[in-house]
Amino acid sequence: MTPRALAIVLTVYTAFLAVACVLVHASARGRPPASEVTITSVWKDGVLVARSATPDPLPLATAGTVVRETIVREGSILSAPDIAFAISLVPGRDGVRATLDGRTAYVTPDDLLARQSYDHGASIADLGLTVGVRVDDVIGLLAERLGASVPELRARAELTRIRTERIVDAEPPPHEGVTADALTPAMVKEAAIAAARYLARGQNVDGHFRYFVDAPKNKDLGGYDWPRHAGATYFLTQAAHASGEPELGIAALRAAWLLRDKAMVTCGDERCVGDDDQVEIGSASLALIAFVELVRTGLDPSFSQNVAELARFLRSQQRPDGELRHLYDRSARHAVDVQYLYFSGEAALALSRAHLVTHDAADLTASSRALSYLVGPAWSFFGSRYYFGEEHWTCQVMDDLWERAPDPSALDFCVRWHAYGRRMQYGPGETPFDAAGAFGVGPIVTPRLTPVASRCEAGVATRHALALAHGSEAELAALDRQLRSSLALLVRQQLRPGAAHLFADPQAVAGAMPGSEVDWQLRIDYAQHAGSAMLRWLETAPP
């Protein structure tokens, strides 16, 4: 082949590709509808009870919340393969219109939110990720509304992506649309206490929490684990202290008693937390953090004995280089030297907090050594200055130790970690989602709120230590902006009374933190991370 022939082939290819890209972009972007279409729905107890779309007459007056979704844009959609269909709808914003034999049906964003279909579509098992909308929900609903079978709909219906804007005939939730600049300490405190009340409201008399809840249906999804139970206990103790509400204190104590009386077992000569033959140290670490908080706030000083027991167990799990062995085999009576995400940081924070109660220098030394390992050998590889993970406990340890055993290299690590994170923080208007303050790099997955909350916990800690160390004003200001932006997002996204037409029992889930803007499955640690971050910000941030 001659160079000239190859050049011609590649030039023609490039020209065709460029034109194809422009056409596909324009077709996917869509355009405003030729005439205004508003879909009016009536929702009661989270169930759609009536609907009509212009030009049809409005639904007959029915008790419930009236919601109007106006189509502001419509564009083409790839209906096959399913993975392409799944990622073709922007979560919480886009629905689908189907036309078959002259009849038209809509699946609106509210329909898909009520079914929790967004972000539960195609599964990428190796990444532990599900992306896009559940296609079966969309197709099933359209087929039902058109009175057609699913194969018929797939074969013959014309599908169009619709972008809608929603107007609800109800009081807006508190703090709707609050921005970083408008955020006040009073809002943050109210939100934190609301999150604590949600946890307390869902607690059984034996101290267990409602662990995982489908918010629209107010249905328990099962599962339980002690680290998250202990985390929730810690947050409730913080909230009880901050608010002075006896109900929160009682809930914290119930949860702590359950940990102490049912979950504490023997690990060789020490006491640890767990149910199984092999226990991990995360449960003991978070239980220890909760127990210290109970002692420190005066809610129940009798836990100081358990603090000492768990601190001894964690110290016994530490290797000579500062790293911790994350498992203990109770039958074989020895530690198992494996490492998992988060546990070393949790243990280091637990030992630092324990020292405040035990005043045992061994606890302080163990925590310092663990911190040195976390910011040293544990994060030392080619390119480690340009890449950071999700671990959010290390910076809390660094701050906790700062006034007793300051570690400047750990502070430097945390400042760089946050600078890296800020490069991925969304600003206002940068995404089609309500994501200002969240972190992300791609369009397909709606930003998760728990990483926002846990980065806030670490950010509050870093800001506090940096201020104590008289660090750079520019860095402090950048951290302040980052935190205010993230906290405002958490306050906006918290489930609150108001426009709650998609929930079977809005009051039951009021104050909870969802997984994301569209993932309304509620696990106890979502509220805990957000609430703890808020309360620590109130304690340490400047007025």
Binding site: V22, A26, V90, R161, P432, G442, P443, I444
Partner: protein, 138 residues
């Protein structure tokens, strides 16, 4: 056909086969029949072509030429698919879609040297199938 050129293109074909194998069967987080099948064909062709060229077999230029045409076609199809997907996502998601679009463009750029530049250069070196036995300028 110069010995140096034969050895160089044989070696590069084998390197490209390894990179495609690692990229598809180790790097991709999920399996898809079409992608895996095309990758298997590419790996097989590049390996046979590379070994044949390095050993100086008589059939090697014909196989290398056919391999280059097929790999170039698949490479251009891959680039086109990724570029059109990026355009589609940017159209739907707006500004945030540009992040994903950049990732797809980077993935396309990663494949360009091995799936487009290498087979194109090899075709120039070997000449068009109709001119078999008359290798192009090295």
């Amino acid at each position: 056909m110069s010995v140096r050129g034969r050895l160089a293109f044989g070696f590069l074909d084998l390197v490209a086969a390894c990179l495609v194998a690692i990229g598809v069967f180790r790097g991709l987080p999920a399996r898809a029949g079409a992608i895996d099948g095309c990758a298997a064909v590419v790996i097989l062709l590049l390996t046979v072509s590379g070994v044949g060229l390095m050993l100086g077999r008589a059939w090697a230029p014909r196989v290398a030429r056919a391999t280059s045409v097929i790999v170039l076609a698949l490479g251009l199809a891959l680039v086109a698919t990724l570029a059109i997907t990026a355009s589609y996502l940017a159209g739907i998601y707006g500004p945030v879609g540009k992040g994903g679009a950049v990732i797809l463009v980077l993935v396309a750029a990663l494949g360009l040297p091995y799936l487009v530049a290498l087979p194109a250069t090899q075709l120039l070196w070997l000449g068009w199938p109709g001119r078999a036995g008359r290798p192009g300028r090295p």
